[in-house]
Amino acid sequence: MAKETGICSWKELALGAAIVTPGNASELKTGDWRSMRPVVDYEKCIKCGRCYILCPDMVYTPRDDGYYELNYYYCKGCGICANECPKDAIEMVEEGR
């Protein structure tokens, strides 16, 4: 956790406490925030991409086959994707079940 909490010597800081590792927030597992998880039924999916384009957490990424991959590492479980899926192909299920 040392890295995550930013504990380091003042001598190691970049100029003006800038961060010079672009996008390293991607190390953070915001999936821990989730109590409900979206589960995609690829049988129902029509590859419309609304889950991808409407996700505030960049959880979905396009795949070569046109479907969208879901990354639980980041998913906070907001449920927008399930609510907006025109085919009800995404279901929110309780974590731990």
Binding site: K3, E4, G6, C8, A17, I19, T21, P22, G23, N24, A25, S26, E27, L28, K29, T30, W33, C48, G49, R50, Y52, I53, L54, C55, P56, D57, M58, V59, T61, P62, N71, Y73, Y74, K76, G77, C78, G79, I80, A82, N83, E84, M92
Partner: protein, 327 residues
């Protein structure tokens, strides 16, 4: 042909088939569940790609993307203070202009983006924004409007709608909540006579991305006002955030339009607007409102919609069928 129209004459918009894959903001950011402000920012920056420099006002989008030592930013980003994102990005733009002219750097047609929330734009940052727009810097300014100071705990701003409950506009025996009408910031931006102004909603992502792209293409300042639903502050479940945003458009509470070279253009005609009540009832920030108050809000929304139609030169009768997106 005037400047913006000239720059946009061959404009090719996005569709779901050609969304750029690059995410300028990485996942792992700390925005709330269902944060539509983050979604709006994500979509706006996706439309612009890697060749941008971003200046952020203090606010939710600053604090959730940059707590040391992690940054969600994959593009160059600077935060200085609350009220000055427009001034900071003015300086960045001017520096690039001077350095490129003097041959000190290559001219790479970087897009310069400043953004702030409604507080950082409509209240404390209005002067810096007005200055930047008036001076004609080639910048894109995004206002991510979640209608209150959400970062500090949901205090009212001048962009908070009438009747809304916030922590500094609490309803009570002598208060209906926010006692003033929402400041019309896009109209204020348009009054500067800048080449491009638009309103956009993440509920219409392609429309939003296209507008931001247009904002970047026009020479000079451009302003895009983005409706940023905030489940935390608006008191509704996060999963309906996009539904709320769509309802804001469907009820004419947040109409979508562009102002190109001073010409007002409605993005979505809405011949059968839904009652404002449908929008209000989704959010607990309005739940204390009486039917009488709701009627008052309805009247105001109708009046503003008519004024907008007039500006756009459209009559209600000729309003065409609602235009769908390719989504």
């Amino acid at each position: 042909m005037s400047t913006a129209a000239e720059a946009l004459k061959d404009f090719k918009g996005f569709s779901m088939k050609n969304i750029p894959e690059f995410e300028p903001i990485s996942p792992g950011h700390r925005a709330c569940q269902g944060c539509v402000e983050m979604l709006g920012l994500r979509l706006a920056l996706k439309a612009l790609g890697k060749n941008v420099i971003v200046a952020s006002a203090t606010g939710c989008m600053e604090i959730v993307t940059s707590p040391y030592p992690q940054t969600a930013w994959r593009v160059p980003w600077i935060h200085v203070a609350f009220e000055n994102a427009a001034a900071v990005i003015s300086g960045v733009e001017a520096a690039y202009k001077a350095l490129a002219r003097k041959g000190k750097i290559e001219n790479k047609n970087v897009v310069f983006v400043g953004y702030g929330g409604d507080g950082g734009t409509a209240d404390i940052g209005l002067q810096a924004l007005s200055g930047a727009l008036e001076r004609g810097h080639n910048i894109v300014y995004l206002c991510l409007d979640n209608e209150a100071y959400m970062n500090t705990g949901i205090q009212r701003s001048s962009s908070t709608p009438y009747g809304a409950m916030t922590t500094t506009s609490p309803p009570g025996k002598k208060s209906i909540g926010q006692a003033t009408w929402k400041k019309n910031l896009p109209a204020i931006a348009a009054a500067h006579g800048i080449p491009y102004v638009a309103t956009a909603s993440p509920a219409y992502p392609i429309d939003l991305m296209n507008k931001v792209k247009k904002a970047a293409l026009v020479p000079g300042p451009a302003y895009v006002h983005i409706f940023a639903v905030c489940p935390t502050g608006w008191r509704h479940d996060s999963n309906i955030a996009i539904e709320v945003a769509k309802m804001a458009v469907a009820t004419n509470v947040f109409p979508l339009y562009e102002v190109i070279d001073g010409k007002w253009i409605l993005s979505r005609k809405n011949p059968k607007p839904k009652p404002v009540k449908e929008y209000l009832k989704l959010q607990r920030r309005f739940r204390h409102l009486t039917d009488e108050e709701i009627a008052k809000i309805q009247a105001r929304v109708d009046q503003e919609w008519r004024a907008l139609l007039e500006r756009c030169g459209v009559t209600e009768e000729t309003g065409e069928k609602e235009k769908g997106e390719s989504e």
